[in-house]
Structures are given as structure tokens and as C-alpha cells.
């Protein structure tokens, strides 16, 4: 523990760790030192001068080294001749800080008067008005009037698009540099900068394409004025009209805590609508940041838009070949009757965007009838995560020197941006990062070791690491032995094994279900063998493609490799929150009777015999389990639309018609049942999930000037589950079955193998309806090595016909020398049917005349 220092701030005695800045010490003591440029998550720069205070230090007798005493025995304190910045000055023993003096008051008035000489004071039309630090601090500390002449104010551009998502009002900018520093220090994506000096200083981007960073929205939260606003919320509402609802981002397994700001408005027909998404503080999950996907992709919940993104509003039953609207009673009766007849012939296929409560009820219903369940995913290993961890108490913020983090088969910047951010920060604190991948990714910049393997050898690479530590399993296949001879891999393995804490994140790049299973097992073996299990900051994290896939595994769902056959042979197929036919036309041949429970009329729903419309997660309660196995609650943000039910309620009501004991009214009561039947969830209820503790830095509340407009977490930090290893269970090693096919055996006649990759912004059902993001989402494409392209005579940007899994689609050719030769990278959810590595044929598309 750091040495403690005691000082006095405005007469109040405060004890804080050595090295604390005065501004933070004051905040901890409940004393406000106003700031603009300082932010508790970034290094201080002392640029704005708003935090000036009087600082006195005890006088030390040079001869004796003792503190000089006044006549009354108190220490003699010497004040500096000038005010000093509280944001750059660390505390020292016996220091006396005075913020409540006439001198400081005059200083603050002068700084504010000075700042306002170049500020337009257009608060009535400013989005920040009402939650604006400049407004608040001017009211609190500013002079009543200005000596400067209004007509001499700087006049600058007011609507500068820095990128497609962020607008800059140059006049309002007070040059605090928080946005520039965020992009450079925290996101390490310095695409905005200062230009010119003094009064002419401007925030600019010279990058192409502009302010195109996955974290750009955060700059609008920490901007202390209305200079930076999002294209989404700009001129959308006034902050004081907004209600807030705590929620969890549903876009990836990080589980960022968010707040939906809503209001009832005439322009939306008097409905309550979501106006924006704000980060909600959870220092163990997302701190006070969210990525742009989380901030802007929520529009899918609203319906509207075009094509398949219109929300379903009533149950549909196929009559005379057409889907016709019917009452809930009729639809549920039809479904219950069919389910009863199907019995063990029922196959329930669920997607990973469902809540724990939905998944639990689905499993109870299906098991009650003797049917089978399947998880619609291309990733495996959720059972291993539950066994080896991550351990309870895991927090990236606690990782530093002594911690090793291994990331394999995942481009975290694309798949889970906040984990990317937090791992980068862990490395800056001294953690050792190993990145194992088939191609370079952005995270490698921070890696101490990079392990390169060919696509198809993901599990082999991890087993080779293990093998290089101890020859526990001598009869390893050749690809493993070959990799194990790499000195870089051996060094990485040694470093990982020697670290005090070891964490592995595995993803799904280049992998299908079978490869994923092998990789997860290999990772678990490495962790078990190096004793990195059952403790906080140790264990396994799956970088799932959807928010609650870990929860689905915990609720007992498993993916199946024979899904296509199982779907065809099922007597009744119950598809919930999944669109297999949309992803792959060959999956369109469903069994005898198809029930689809969905938000949208997906391609699968169009084939259904019964379609059951459900509420979006923003319209109801529930819980998700994050990739770090933190169970977190989300709350209704907007009222449920008439005629819709939550997924768990629909399933529950079907079950009740079949005489099963299912909860169909309250998500909270489903959670109680989960707690009583799923061992890992024992003891959980909605009250525990809603518990909070004080977090640092303090954000929200009345002092948005300090941490920005992120919301304080008063609705629950969630509960991280303990894995079996942490509860004392023995976790055995198991050796994965090796896919014996080497790359060349899997490749097509042309020698090309398609490998799936994941993009943050894709054309998926929960992203594409947010039209704001379209400019950031390319046309369908595949990426290949320029050498391969040269052989095939494919120029960059050419339109290709890509034949994959029996389906031919058009896609543009992206040439990228980082793509290994012989491999065609195919992004998931971008209109091409890709699930795992597969042979692919590509050729120049014929130019079709219109």
C-alpha cells in the first residue's frame, strides 16, 4: 500500500495515498475544485487554469530538518506568492490547500471571464446546455459580467463534421484538449489534433477518413462544452427532458453498462423513445467508456428502416400459404398443440442475444417435452469457461506487472473494443501481452510476444506452447510439433507460464464450431497446466459473437455440429432470436413445422408456420452474462409496445398451456428459478444484481465537470460468477480431437481457403437498421493477398463472384498484404454465408449491362 499523506483542504483534514493530485484529494473529501482540462482518467496538463488554488507548505528548518512551529505550537505554513494548479500538484505531508478564499475566487472569475471572451454563449441552442461544465462552473464561480466587448468575439465554423459521427462547433471549444488527449492517451488513435495556436487554435483532423475511431463518441461525453456532439443526438433533445434507464449493451460479450436516455415526444407520435445511449460507470467492466457500436447501433430496437428491419407487431399463423395476423390466444394454442404432438421431436434453436431468463425458460419448456435444444453459434467452449474461469474478482484494471494476457484468434479491436482498450491499459501498467494470430492485428502493437500460425492451426499453436513447456503428450500431430520448434512461441509460452496471473481470450477468427471446440480445450489445457485457474485475473474468456452466449452455455444450451441435419429431421423447429435461413440459404429447408419467435420478419420467419413477435430488450427486464461471467441486469427503457410479450413470457405461456410449471410474468421470478436450479447462479436474485458500491473516479451526480457526462452506476454492478475451479472442483485436462485436415486439404481446387473474420460494424440485423453507421460499413467484400490476386488477375476493388458453401454472391476484392497467401478472408454478417473455414471459389464477375 502506498504511503499515506495527510493534508488540509479548506479546513478539512484529508488522508490520501502519496502521489494523489490535489484535485482528486479534494474530490474524495467532497470539496469541488472546478476543472475543465483535467480528467481523472487522463494525465494532467494544467492547460485551462480553472483549478487554481492557494497552496501552503510547512516550513522546514534546514539545519534540523524539523517543521518550524508557530508560537502556538502549530506548524508554520508558507504560502506561495501565486495561485497554483491543483490538477498538476501532488499532495504532500502537512500541505494546506485553500480554495475558499477571495484570492482564489478572483482567480476563477478571471479565468472564466477570459474563457468566455471567445465563447459564443449560445446555450439556448446548444445540446450541452443543462449538463455543461462551462455553464455550471460559470454559474458557480464566474463573474456576473464581462469587461470584454461582445462584438470582438472569435467567429468560427459551427457545424464541422470531424467524421460521420461527430460534429465540431469551433466557437464553443475552450481548447481543453480532452478530446485530443483521449484519442491519443486512451484510444491510441490520434486522428484529431490541435492546429494553430492561441486564440486561433482549432481541433482538426487531417486523417482519411476523418475522425473514424471506434471510441469517438466518448469525446462528446468528456467535452466540457458543446463543441463536440454526436450526429445521432445533435439537436435531438434537451438534457433536462430526458429520463434515464439503466441497461447493458447487447452488441458484444463485454457487457458495457449503459444508460438509455429517453423522452416522450410529439415527433415520434407521442411515444417514449430512446434519444441516446450513454456509458454508465462500471470500473470492472467498461469504466466510463463505450464503443461507437454500443452508442449508435441501438436503432434496431426501434423498427422502422427498410427491408427486414421493420418490427413485428402481432402474431402470424400461416393460413392458405400466407402468414396472417391472429390473436395471441390462437397463435399460442396452435404452437402448444404442435409442440405437444412433436414431443421429443421438438428442436429449440436459440440465439445468443436472448437474456438468461429467456434461455432458461426455453430450456425448461424443451426439456419438459423431451425435446432438444441447440445454441445458434459458431463458437464453443462456454462449458470450459465455467470450469476454469475467469475467476471471481477478475478486473482488467487490476492487471499490471505480473499478469500475462494471451489473445488468440481474435481481432479484439473489431470484436470487443472495450477489452482492447483495457488490455492496452493493462500493458501500460506492466502486464505482458501475447497475441497469437494468423495475420497482424492492431493489438499486436502492445504485445511482448507475437505468435504467428497458419489458419487452421489455432489449437495447434496453443498446444505447441503447452508442449514446449513440458512434453506431457508426446504423440502430437506434426503441425503442433512444427509450431513448437518456433523460438518465438517457446519464449511466449515460457513467459506465460512464469507469470503470476495468466488470462486467455480466445476468439473465432478463422474458426468454425469444431475448430473453436479444439481451441477452447487447448486454451483450457494451457491454463490448467500452468496453474492459471480458479483465481481472480486468471482463466479463460471467450470473445463471443453475441452478448449472452456465455449465459446460454450456463443455461445449458450447446451448439451442435450437425445442426443442418437436426433442423431437417425435427418434427417441430422452434427458432428464437436466430436467422439461419438469412445467414445461409441452404438452411432454409426446415422440418415439418417451423415456429419463429423474433423482433423482425427475418428470412427464417418468412418461412415459418407461426411467427411470435417479441419485445426488444429495451422494452423489458432481464439479465445477460458477460464474457467475464458477470451477470448484469438491464431495465426497461421504453414501455412495451401493445401486443408484444417478452421472450421468456411467450415461452412461459406456451409451457403453461402444456401443463408445465414455467414462470411467465416476472423476469425476476425466472431469475429465482435459475438461482435454484443452476449451481453457478445459486444465491442470485435481482436485488443482489442491483447492488452498488462507491466507485472511483466519481462521475455523474452534479459534477459533470469532473468525469464527464457518463452516468453514475446506481442500478447495479452485477455479480461475477465463480468458476468450478474456484469452488474447489477438480478440472481435468482433456485433449482435443484434431481436425486432421490440413489447410491444403480443405482448400478449393484453386487452392483457396476462406477464413471467417469478425468486423465491429457489419450488416447484421442488430447493426444495419442504424442508418447513421452505413457510411462506416463497406459493401460486401473479401480480402486476399495481392500475390494471389495477381495470379488470378484480380485488380483491387474488382467485383467478384464468390462461391461459398454452395452459394454464389457478389463481393468486392480488397487486396491486403497482411492476408496470408492461399487464404481469402470473409467477414461474418456481411452478406456472405461463412461459418467456418471452407473452400472458396472466386472469379471476376461478368459485367452485367443494365
Amino acid at each position: 500500500m502506498a504511503k499515506q499523506v495527510t493534508l488540509t483542504i479548506d479546513g478539512k483534514q484529508v488522508t490520501v495515498p502519496e502521489g494523489t493530485l490535489i484535485v482528486d484529494a479534494a474530490k474524495k473529501a467532497g470539496i469541488d475544485v472546478p476543472v475543465f482540462c483535467y480528467h481523472p482518467k487522463m494525465e494532467p496538463v494544467g492547460m485551462c487554469r480553472m483549478c487554481l488554488v492557494e497552496i501552503g507548505r510547512p516550513v522546514i528548518d534546514r539545519a534540523t530538518g524539523q517543521v518550524v512551529k508557530e508560537a502556538d505550537g502549530s506548524p508554520k505554513v508558507q504560502f506561495g506568492p501565486k495561485l497554483e494548479t491543483a490538477c498538476t500538484t501532488p499532495v504532500s505531508e502537512g500541505m494546506v490547500v485553500v480554495g475558499a478564499s477571495e484570492k482564489v475566487k478572483a482567480g476563477r472569475e478571471d479565468i472564466l471571464e477570459f474563457l468566455l471572451t471567445s465563447h459564443p454563449l449560445d446555450c439556448p441552442i446548444c445540446d450541452k446546455g443543462g449538463e455543461c461544465p462551462l455553464q455550471d462552473l460559470t454559474m458557480g464561480f464566474g463573474p456576473g459580467e464581462s469587461r470584454f466587448i461582445f462584438d470582438e468575439k472569435m467567429r468560427m465554423d459551427k457545424h464541422v463534421p470531424l467524421g460521420e459521427l461527430i460534429y465540431l462547433d469551433r466557437e464553443r471549444c475552450i481548447q481543453c484538449g480532452r478530446c485530443v488527449r483521449f484519442q491519443s492517451e486512451i484510444a491510441d488513435d490520434p486522428v484529431i489534433g490541435f492546429y494553430q495556436r492561441g486564440r486561433s487554435l482549432e481541433i482538426v483532423t487531417f486523417s482519411e477518413p476523418g475522425f473514424d475511431s471506434y471510441f469517438s463518441g466518448n469525446t462528446t461525453d468528456i467535452c466540457p462544452v458543446g463543441a463536440l456532439t454526436t450526429a445521432d443526438f445533435r439537436f435531438g433533445a434537451r438534457p433536462w427532458e430526458l429520463n434515464n434507464a439503466a441497461s447493458i449493451c447487447s452488441q458484444c460479450p463485454v457487457g458495457c453498462n449503459i444508460t438509455f436516455n429517453t423522452r416522450r415526444e410529439a415527433r415520434s407520435g407521442g411515444r417514449m423513445v430512446i434519444k441516446r445511449v450513454m456509458p454508465r460507470q462500471n470500473e470492472a467492466v467498461n469504466e466510463i467508456w463505450i464503443c461507437d457500436k454500443g452508442r449508435f447501433a441501438y436503432h434496431f430496437t426501434e423498427g422502422g428502416g427498410s427491408g427486414n428491419s421493420e418490427r413485428l407487431t402481432q402474431p402470424l399463423v400461416r393460413k392458405n400459404g400466407e402468414l396472417a395476423p391472429v390473436s395471441w390466444d390462437e397463435a399460442l394454442q396452435v404452437v402448444a398443440e404442435r409442440f405437444r404432438q412433436a414431443g421429443s421431436g421438438l428442436l429449440t434453436l436459440a440465439g445468443g442475444r436472448l437474456s438468461n431468463e429467456d434461455l432458461f425458460n426455453l430450456r425448461q419448456l424443451t426439456q419438459g417435452l423431451g425435446g432438444q435444444t441447440a445454441l445458434y453459434t459458431q463458437m464453443a467452449g462456454g462449458d470450459l469457461v465455467a470450469q476454469v474461469g475467469v475467476g471471481q474478482g477478475t478486473n482488467f484494471a487490476d492487471m499490471g506487472a505480473g499478469s500475462a494476457i494471451l489473445v488468440v484468434a481474435s481481432d479484439l479491436h473489431e470484436e470487443a473494443p472495450i477489452w482492447y482498450l483495457r488490455i492496452k491499459q493493462a500493458v501500460e501498467r506492466g502486464a505482458m501481452l501475447i497475441v497469437a494470430g494468423a495475420r497482424p492485428t492492431r493489438l499486436e502493437k502492445y504485445a511482448a510476444h507475437v505468435v504467428r500460425y497458419p489458419y487452421g492451426s489455432e489449437a495447434a499453436a496453443i498446444l505447441a506452447m503447452l508442449n514446449s513447456l513440458s512434453a506431457k503428450r508426446p504423440n502430437l500431430p506434426e503441425p503442433v510439433q512444427a509450431l513448437a520448434r518456433s523460438p518465438e512461441l517457446q519464449a511466449a509460452a515460457k513467459a506465460f507460464a512464469g507469470a503470476q496471473n495468466g488470462l486467455v481470450l480466445y476468439g473465432s477468427e478463422g474458426l468454425g464450431l469444431e475448430g473453436s471446440q479444439a481451441l477452447a480445450q487447448a486454451c483450457a489445457n494451457l491454463l490448467i497446466s500452468t496453474n492459471h485457474i480458479g483465481r481472480a485475473n486468471n482463466g479463460l474468456i471467450a470473445v463471443w459473437q453475441r452478448a449472452n452466449e456465455q449465459g446460454a452455455w450456463d443455461m445449458g444450451f450447446r451448439p451442435r455440429t450437425d445442426l443442418a441435419e437436426a433442423m431437417k429431421s425435427a418434427r417441430v423447429l422452434y427458432v428464437v432470436a436466430a436467422d439461419p435461413a438469412g445467414d445461409d440459404p441452404s438452411m432454409a429447408e426446415a422440418g415439418e413445422f417451423l415456429v419463429v419467435q423474433e423482433l423482425f420478419l427475418t428470412d427464417t420467419a418468412k418461412l415459418a408456420d407461426v411467427v411470435l413477435p417479441v419485445e426488444a430488450y429495451t422494452e423489458r427486464e432481464g439479465s445477460f452474462t458477460s464474457g467475464e461471467r458477470r451477470v448484469q441486469r438491464f431495465y426497461p427503457a421504453v414501455p412495451e409496445p401493445a401486443g408484444l410479450k417478452a421472450d421468456f413470457a411467450v415461452t412461459g405461456q406456451i409451457g403453461q398451456l402444456l401443463g408445465l410449471d414455467l414462470e411467465a410474468r416476472f423476469a425476476s421470478k425466472v431469475m429465482l428459478r435459475i438461482a435454484s436450479q443452476i449451481a453457478d447462479y445459486a444465491g442470485l436474485d435481482y436485488v443482489r444484481l442491483a447492488e452498488v458500491v462507491e466507485q472511483w473516479p466519481i462521475v455523474g451526480r452534479g459534477d459533470v465537470y469532473y468525469g464527464g457526462t457518463s452516468y453514475e452506476n446506481s442500478q447495479g454492478l452485477g455479480v461475477q460468477l465463480a468458476p468450478a475451479a474456484q469452488r474447489g472442483a477438480a478440472v481435468p485436462l482433456a485433449w482435443p480431437e484434431f481436425a486432421s485436415q490440413s489447410h491444403s486439404q480443405q482448400a478449393s481446387a484453386e487452392g483457396l481457403l476462406a477464413a471467417p473474420i469478425n468486423r465491429l460494424l457489419d450488416r447484421g440485423q442488430t447493426v444495419w437498421p442504424s442508418t447513421l453507421l452505413h457510411s462506416r460499413i463497406p459493401q460486401p467484400y473479401v480480402a486476399l493477398n495481392p500475390a494471389d490476386a495477381a495470379v488470378l488477375r484480380i485488380p483491387s476493388g474488382a467485383m467478384l463472384q464468390v462461391t461459398l458453401n454452395g452459394t454464389a454472391r457478389l463481393a468486392a476484392a480488397h487486396l491486403d498484404e497482411n492476408v496470408p497467401q492461399g487464404v481469402v478472408l470473409v467477414p461474418r454478417s456481411m452478406g456472405l454465408p461463412i461459418f467456418g473455414p471452407a473452400p472458396v471459389e472466386i472469379r471476376r464477375a461478368e459485367v452485367v449491362s443494365a
Binding site: 486522428v191 492546429y195 495556436r197 483532423t205 487531417f206
Partner: protein, 174 residues
């Protein structure tokens, strides 16, 4: 295609060699001078090329150009006549000198002569107060100081510059 890297390959290598390999970004300022010498100002293309050479963003390069007053982001005359008009120089007649010089050239401060040869600017202290009126001439050939000037001597210098005579550094300043 990186135009600068191709045209000045050797010179760029020599510049980069002065800095540790992991701190290539430190070479941004000499490379900007090189780019400015090439075009008379730093073009947006050059900023991108320098960013690519150093592995930093074009925005980071641009903010250096914006910060320092001796880098230009807009084209101007081949020669920039930069007259100091700070207080000590003004007391020795620099303001009047500047006004007359512009009058003679038929332009206003900050403008360029129609033949594109000369731009006249007023700048902050050039550290030669005692020899005002004075100015520096900045061009692709470098900087040169000209002190104790009259409008006549300045015009004569400009004429010789326009004729292409090199303006040697007569006053011993760098």
C-alpha cells in the same frame, strides 16, 4: 506512391538515421522542412507522406505544421519577406517601412506580388531590434537576415531576388 520518399530517398534516410529506430516520429520537423523546400509550403499530400514514413497519423503531422509559424500550409510567393513590427522595431520605423514597402510592391501585408515571387508578412520578434527596420527572407533556399533597411535597399534586394541572383547572407546572421 510516396513522392517525397522517392525523390529524396537518400536525404530522408540521412534524416531518419539521426534518430533511434523506435522514435522515428522525432524526424517530423526536418522532414517538414524538406517538404516545404520542395513545394514552398507543406501540401496535404506531403503531410500524408511524412505520416506514412514515420508511422504516425496525418493529423499529428498537421498539428506540428499548425503549431510552428515557420511551416506554411498555404502557397505563397517564392520569397517571404518577413518584417518584424514589434514595439522596439516599430520605434525605429518598422511599421512605416512595412507600409511603404507594400506600397512600392503594390500589395497589402500578407499578399503576394502578381508574379508570385514575393509575399510580405509582418512577424513577431526576430531578435534584431537594434538594427530595425529589418526583415528576414524565407525561401526554399533557407533564411537570411537583412538589417538596417530602407525601402530602397529592400526594393533593390527584391529586384535581385526576382532576377534569380542568390541573396547571400551579408550580416553574419544564420
Amino acid at each position: 506512391m510516396n513522392h517525397l520518399a522517392e525523390k529524396y530517398s537518400e536525404e530522408i534516410q540521412a534524416i531518419l538515421a539521426k534518430y533511434p529506430a523506435d522514435q522515428k516520429r522525432s524526424a517530423v520537423m526536418p522532414l517538414l522542412y524538406l517538404a516545404q523546400r520542395e513545394s514552398g509550403y507543406v501540401t496535404k499530400t506531403a503531410m500524408n507522406e511524412i505520416a506514412e514514413l514515420l508511422g504516425i497519423t496525418a493529423t499529428e503531422v498537421a498539428s506540428i505544421v499548425g503549431f510552428y509559424s515557420l511551416y506554411y500550409d498555404k502557397p505563397a510567393g517564392k520569397y517571404r519577406i518577413q518584417v518584424c513590427t514589434d514595439l522596439p522595431c516599430a520605434l525605429r520605423g518598422a511599421e512605416e517601412f512595412l507600409e511603404k514597402l507594400c506600397e512600392n510592391l503594390g500589395i497589402r501585408v500578407g499578399e503576394t506580388t502578381p508574379d508570385g515571387m514575393v509575399t510580405v508578412e509582418h512577424v513577431m520578434c526576430l531578435a534584431a531590434c537594434d538594427k530595425a527596420p529589418m526583415f528576414q527572407v524565407q525561401s526554399g533556399e533557407g533564411l537570411s537576415y537583412h538589417e538596417n533597411q530602407t525601402v530602397e535597399s529592400a526594393m533593390a534586394l527584391i529586384q535581385s531576388l526576382k532576377k534569380g541572383a542568390s541573396h547571400s547572407n551579408k550580416d553574419g546572421h544564420p
